[in-house]
């Protein structure tokens, strides 16, 4: 299991260090040796004094001359897992054959928990909250085993204010929630207005050849729910999943003709731990008791019949050795009544570019020398429209034999529909103990499609 957890700043200084296992060279033990008579004695005494794990990571990874080529590093039979958030390094250390996927999931979770408590993960925030972080680490990692790490539960008994006197009932309520089957929700939540928000957030990814052939395309989507519901509501979520629709279609031929075409084939989906997976596996129904507030209900992926909101047609021509002519056409491919926003096309330029002239029909275009790209921005664009940019790029003559790699042209945008075609059919709420019904709940649904990695090679 995880033997220790360290947090460093970008210089490699330790901000947080928590050792769970004795096999990791513990800092306290080592420094005690060092402080008594200097570092060299320590080495002589121990013969082969284990290198302090904290230092080993700093020297071999953070201060390494070359960029680290793997998120898992093995130094002297000790394995280090690291993730970086802005310029903060989080490293988990172990000497055993641990579940590597679990360690990374835990590190991400740890970041989520910290963010939920004090916002952005920065050196400043970590130093300001180090006592809290130690308290959290004590709770969510015991002897290196991850424990309940749902912020909903943690916030009931780990607070920055310290717990005021609790009654016995309150205490046992906390412990039963932390260990319980529904560890993500506490009992006795009350709202005057029962309300829920569903956001279908999709990112559409594309890799297209210069000739307009789709090399790969997929949508990865998330359904994010914000629930403000009283009690312990039982929810059921339905969407136009092809398998479900076809199953129902057998019963009523009527419905097949209505919705048969609109259903989508989902390649795979994963759910928040509140969803009953065995029920999904057997009946393909999505039922759950939601956490309070915002959470990610599900993630899914589709590859078939994707609506590609934009098509990019590049044309790059080399005129002699010192000039490039670039022309890029973008076409919007959705209902004319809808508006795409925040459109940005990024056209890479060679490193030896000396000057660029651009002409575009719509929006603004600029050559950004520091980013080696022409950035073309359009605020809004309706469906079934077309726009064009042309640029002349002057190049400095070089004797560099290496050819320019021609990175792909990438695009960013936001559209108000789901490129996968996913539709929410229903979200039913049942709370038998309290007197509100499904009809009393106010529900909001919103679709946002964003560009993921949307690239066209040129």
């Amino acid at each position: 299991m995880i033997g220790g957890l360290f947090i460093y700043n970008h210089k490699g200084e330790v901000l947080i260090s928590r050792v769970y296992r004795d096999d990791i060279g513990s800092q306290a033990a080592d420094s005690a040796v060092f402080s008594s008579s200097g570092p060299f004695l320590g080495e002589r005494l121990g013969g082969s004094v284990r290198r302090n794990a904290v230092d080993a990571f700093r020297v071999n990874v953070i201060h390494a001359r070359q960029q680290v080529r793997s998120p898992v590093t093995n130094i002297a039979r000790t394995s280090f897992f690291h993730v970086k958030r802005s310029n903060i390094w989080l490293a988990a250390v172990t000497k055993q054959n641990v579940n590597a996927a679990m360690v990374f999931e835990f590190l991400y979770k740890m970041c989520d928990v910290m963010a939920a408590y004090f916002g952005k993960i920065s050196e400043e925030n970590i130093k300001n909250n180090f006592v809290l972080i130690y308290e959290l680490l004590d709770e969510i990692l015991d002897f290196g085993y991850p424990q309940n790490s749902e912020t909903g539960a943690l916030k009931t008994f780990i607070t920055q204010q310290g717990i005021k006197s609790q009654t016995k009932e309150e205490q046992s309520q906390i412990t039963s929630q932390v260990t319980g089957q529904i560890g993500w929700r506490r009992e006795g939540i009350k709202y005057r207005r029962n309300e829920l928000f569903l956001d279908v957030l999709e990112s559409v990814n594309l890799l297209m050849s210069p000739q307009g052939q789709v090399l790969s395309a997929h949508v990865s989507g998330r359904v994010v729910m914000k629930s403000y519901l009283s009690g312990m509501p039982e929810c059921k979520f339905g969407m136009n999943d092809k398998i479900v629709i076809e199953k129902q279609g057998k019963g009523t031929a009527d419905e097949t003709s209505k919705s048969g075409k609109q259903s989508i084939a989902i390649d795979d989906c994963t759910f928040h731990q509140c969803v009953r997976l065995s029920k999904f596996d057997s009946e393909r129904s999505i039922s759950f008791i939601p956490p309070d507030g915002e959470f990610e209900l599900m993630r899914y992926r589709t590859t078939k019949d994707i609506i590609l909101p934009f098509r990019v047609i590049p044309l790059v021509r080399e005129v002699g050795r010192t000039k490039l002519e670039v022309k890029v056409v973008i076409k919007s491919n959705f209902k004319p009544s809808l508006l795409a926003q925040k459109i940005e096309v990024r056209i890479p330029t060679p490193l030896n570019t000396s000057g660029v002239q651009v002409i575009c029909m719509k929006g603004k275009a600029k050559y950004k020398a520091s980013e080696n790209a022409i950035v073309w921005k359009i605020k809004r664009m309706a469906g079934m429209k077309e726009s064009q940019i042309s640029a002349e790029i002057e190049l400095l003559p070089t004797n560099d034999k290496k050819k320019w790699a021609r990175p792909p042209i990438s695009m960013n945008f936001e559209v108000p529909f789901a490129p996968s075609g996913l539709k929410v059919r229903y979200l039913k709420v049942f709370e038998p103990k309290l007197n509100y019904s499904d009809h009393d709940v106010i529900k909001w649904v919103r679709y946002i499609g964003r560009s993921g990695i949307y690239e066209t090679r040129c």
Binding site: V178, L207, T270
Partner: protein
């Protein structure tokens, strides 16, 4: 209020100030001080001097302060054990606190303080907490047992905590179950033999129920534990799989991967004809693909695992090539892994797409990635024959880019393409030759030289090209030097007239001016060959080369199977078994896939299913375990196989020189070292192809013995046992036995190559042993041993080697070397192979000796279950050189007086009492060296029972 100020106090005398603050009356000030102490501790300052003052703050009802003090204690208790005792009282008191959070905190912290004196006090509170009414306390106590076990394993066993922990598996709270499982799994790892987890259908059912209810982390613990279970039949395997598959939709990637591990392992037991098998295969692909949309670090873990899964079951992801296409912004570690998987998935159906991608990658920025992409193009050519032409032309395009490292990489792979498709693409040689000057890496230079030498007859200026390399001969790396030597000799053999001078030059450079023994030896051999027999030289140097295989870097099947059992863990990320990176005893237990069972009926007793018996369970012959060989033989198996009557010619043939007497002086004392790549294999004794012994793994040998062939002449021969499992020897499996025939001892070996690589250059050596056993001839393995091939060899032994007393006496330590590595194993030989033919003593002498040997040297043994009469016993023993000197009948008992002599001249006298109708007989042994008695008894038992 911010805490960051605590990090900035660096004044002198700060310790004193802190001390004062810690002893302050004001609560707030105390808390501030403790925070400062913790901050100093974090940045690595030594604040252990404040120990008593901090501990004084422990008595508080402020939970936050208490936690800080506990944190301090965990860090420094070990360096201040005496003072740590001061804290014990508070801990014990806190374990009784009405607040469950405080009870749990106390028991959790106490387990982290690794001081023996404190550990003693921990037992009672822990026992109470394990049975606490609050599940939060119980789940914390469960982990505490694992902590305590890490400090003092014996204490945990003595106090019966393991049983309590086992009970917690049936707890009503899923989180308690999960933590108990995690703790037990870890404890079980350090006790590989104990049946701690005791998984049976009932407990599995409990785990599967808890699986649906516990946290994501708990699900991982449970799934990882399930993966260690071996279902009793395919039905059980299927029902577990059905209950595990829903986990594939979990948002946590680790849950998904652990579920994949369970499924991949249990699938092994399902019949491929089953509908369910196909369904399961289909269900596995989507979640694996989804893992690729996780964060990059997890993608990396997933890709390393997919790499294994694709090798084990290529059918799962064969249609998913596109998802492995590299994205421009992927981190480099993700890119390299994706590329690797793309090559594995490349097939005729998708090769066009793959090639287009690879060509794209070859223009990227990262040098390693570009190199790998170029190499991948070559591998595609070798893997998919139809694409070879397109690959070659792509590579030529890349060479035209003149980017230095691209050109070099391309030349290296083109060499392999030439090897795979000889005489097909030589038209490109001209283009390659144009780039000769830009090659600065040894591998590329060597490849180019190889090409020039190999096709010297088609390259007009081959001599000039090679000569140009020769100028800086001594600055080249060994790889290039060796290649240049061979290349020029090839050229000379093809065009002898113009290149005599050149070959002279290289030979003298290699032999006279070089310090490298490999180079020098190869040079001498070529020289001698060329000067004595040019025809033979041609046969050797220009010999037909074996084809190279399609898949070059597959993981060995045994290792792959083991790694599949470790999906999701570090082992699967490193592609190494845990023993390669975990210190100490932990995790060294080999895991292996379960055997495929046809149906529940035939698998009633899994230990008799020999074909798939996991290698880990095979009896390793370890000297410390005493007479394991005897144990094996006591299994009461059928009659033995006869030893194959090997011709003694092998003994003489063994001495045949590799290259004729003339080279003796050059070869020095290391004859096996010169088996260079191009040499003919040494002549070997014809090993009879159809030997009596069945081929297969050691256990199956034991169980497959059905035919009863009696011993022909010579002593009893034990069936072959596995001495060196493939797992421990990089794919080489050795099983064997000892025989004694007409006065000569030999070791009958069976070598099986379970690796993917051809094995050559075998040699064997014994450590000094009690009776001076030593090989009488070198180990003769005819030709290289190709994958999955088995050879049988009889190695003649002498007893004139150096002597050292071993423990046990009949322990023999053996080293076997091949081209891959040197492997060590030890085995116990039966003593009767040392019984010489002239071991019959005359009666008078026997009587005198019997009296002469003091009585304390007499040892008595019982041989049970041996329903033989005196005659049968006599003849049986006689064939193993135990001679009956006299026979008496006393009160219905047959007394046999027997003698035998060991190779080193030790006489052993015996009295064997056989009672008709009584299956056991009594053996009394007298010998001047009483330590052999035990082993002689074992020999008796072995001989009489078979």
């Amino acid at each position: 209020m911010t805490d960051s100020k605590y990090f900035t106090t660096t004044k002198k005398g700060e310790i004193f100030e802190l001390k004062a603050e810690l002893n302050s009356d004001k609560k707030e000030k105390k808390k501030e001080a403790v925070k400062k102490v913790i901050a100093s501790m974090t940045v690595g300052k030594d604040v252990s001097a404040l120990f008593p003052d901090v501990v004084n703050c422990m008595q508080t009802d402020n939970l936050e302060l208490k936690k800080l003090v506990y944190l301090y204690l965990m860090n420094y208790a070990k360096s201040q054990p005496d003072m740590a005792i001061m804290a014990v009282n508070t801990f014990v008191k806190d374990c009784e606190d009405p607040n469950p959070l405080i009870r749990a905190l106390a028991v959790r912290t106490m387990g982290c303080i690794r001081v023996d004196k404190i550990t003693e006090y921990l037992c009672e509170p822990l026992r109470k907490c394990l049975k606490d009414e609050d599940p939060y306390v119980r789940k914390t106590a469960a982990v505490c047992v694992a902590k305590l076990h890490d400090i003092n394993a014996q204490l945990v066993e003595d106090q019966g905590f393991l049983d309590t922990l086992k009970d917690l598996i049936s707890d009503s709270n899923p989180m308690v179950v999960a933590n108990a499982v995690a703790a037990l799994s870890e404890i079980a790892e350090s006790h590989p033999s104990s049946n701690l987890l005791d998984l049976n259908p009932q407990s599995i059912n409990k785990l599967l129920t808890a699986l649906n209810e516990c946290t994501e982390w708990g699900q991982i613990f449970i799934l990882d534990c399930l993966a260690n279970y071996t279902p009793k039949d395919d039905r059980e395997a299927q029902s577990i799989c059905e209950r595990v598959t829903p986990r594939l939709s979990h948002a946590n990637s680790a849950v998904v991967l652990s579920a994949v591990k369970v499924l991949m392992k249990f699938m092994e037991m399902l019949s491929k004809d089953l509908d369910y098998y196909g369904t399961l295969l289909k269900k596995l692909a989507p979640p694996l693909v989804t893992l690729l949309s996780a964060e990059p670090e997890l993608q990396y873990v997933a890709l390393r695992n997919i790499n294994l899964i694709v090798q084990k079951r290529p059918e799962i992801l064969k249609h998913e090539m596109k998802v492995f296409f590299v994205k421009y912004n992927d981190p480099i570690y993700v890119k390299l892994e994706k590329l690797d998987i793309m090559i594995r998935l490349a097939s005729q159906a998708n090769i066009a797409q793959v090639l287009a991608e690879l060509k794209e990658y070859a223009t990227e920025v990262d040098v390693d990635f570009v190199r790998k992409a170029v190499r991948a193009i070559g591998r595609c050519a070798i893997k998919v024959e139809q694409s070879a032409e397109r690959c070659v032309s792509t590579l030529l395009d890349l060479i035209q880019t003149k980017v230095n490292y691209v050109v070099q990489e391309a030349i290296v792979v083109i060499k392999d393409i030439f090897r795979k498709y000889p005489n097909k693409y030589e038209s490109v040689i001209a283009t390659l030759c144009e780039n000769l000057d830009s090659l600065d890496e040894p591998e590329a230079r060597a490849a180019m030289i190889w090409i020039v030498g190999e096709y010297a007859e088609r390259i007009d200026n081959a001599d000039e090209l090679l000569e140009s390399f020769l100028e800086g001969f001594h600055d080249e790396s060994t790889q290039v030097q060796l290649q240049l030597l061979t290349g020029i000799v090839k050229l000379f053999l093809k065009k002898p007239t113009e290149t005599q001078e050149l070959v002279q030059q290289v030979l003298s450079l290699a032999t006279q001016d070089s310090d490298n023994p490999d180079l020098r030896d190869r040079g001498y051999i070529y020289w001698r060959l060329l000067s004595t027999d040019p025809v033979a030289a041609k046969e050797v140097v220009l010999a037909e080369k074996p084809l190279i295989s399609e898949e070059t870097d597959l993981i060995e099947p045994t290792l792959l199977d083991e790694l599949i059992c470790y999906i999701g863990t570090l082992a699967s990320v490193y592609h190494k078994p845990p023993s390669a990176f975990v210190e100490g005893g932990r995790g060294v237990v080999h895991k292996s896939l379960p055997p495929r069972t046809a149906s529940s009926e035939s698998a009633e007793s899994p230990e008799t299913a020999p074909a798939g018996a996991p290698p880990g369970e095979q009896p390793d012959v370890i000297p410390a375990q005493g007479d394991l060989l005897g144990d094996l033989l006591n299994l009461d198996l059928g009659p033995p196989v006869s030893s194959p009557p090997l011709t003694t010619s092998s003994v003489q043939m063994g001495a045949v020189d590799l290259l004729g007497g003339g080279l003796d002086s050059l070869m020095g004392d290391e004859p096996e070292g010169i088996g260079g790549t191009n040499f003919v294999a040494p002549p070997t004794a014809a090993v009879p192809a159809s030997l009596g012994a069945p081929i297969g793994s050691g256990l199956s040998d034991l169980f497959d013995l059905t035919s009863g062939v009696g011993t022909l002449s010579g002593s009893y021969v034990a069936p072959k046992a596995v001495w060196l499992p493939a797992m421990k020897a990089k794919g080489l499996e050795i099983s064997g036995t000892f025989t004694r025939q007409v006065g000569s001892i030999s070791m009958d070996l069976q070598l099986t190559n379970k690796a993917l690589q051809v094995m050559t250059d075998f040699a064997i050596q014994f450590n000094r042993n009690s009776f001076g056993l030593a090989p009488a001839a070198p180990l003769q393995v005819h030709a290289p041993l190709s994958p999955n091939q088995t050879v049988e060899i009889s190695l003649p032994l002498s007893t004139v080697g150096s002597v050292m007393k071993m423990e046990p006496l009949n322990n023999l330590q053996v080293a076997v070397k091949n081209n891959i590595d040197v492997f060590y194993f030890s085995t116990l030989y039966p003593l009767h192979i040392l019984f010489v033919e002239d071991g019959k003593m005359d009666r008078q002498m026997f009587l005198a000796t019997w009296k002469d040997i003091p009585n304390e040297n007499e040892a008595q043994f019982q041989i049970r279950d041996c329903p033989l009469n005196a005659e049968a016993a006599t003849s049986k023993l006689q064939s193993s050189n135990i001679f009956t000197v006299a026979k008496r009948n006393v009160e219905g008992q047959d007394m046999l007086y027997q003698s035998l002599k060991l190779t080193n001249g030790i006489w052993v006298l015996a009295e064997l009492r056989v009672q008709p109708g009584n299956p056991s007989c009594t053996l009394s042994l007298k010998c001047r060296a009483p330590e052999v008695s035990q082993h002689v008894y074992q020999a008796y038992e072995t001989i009489l029972k078979n």
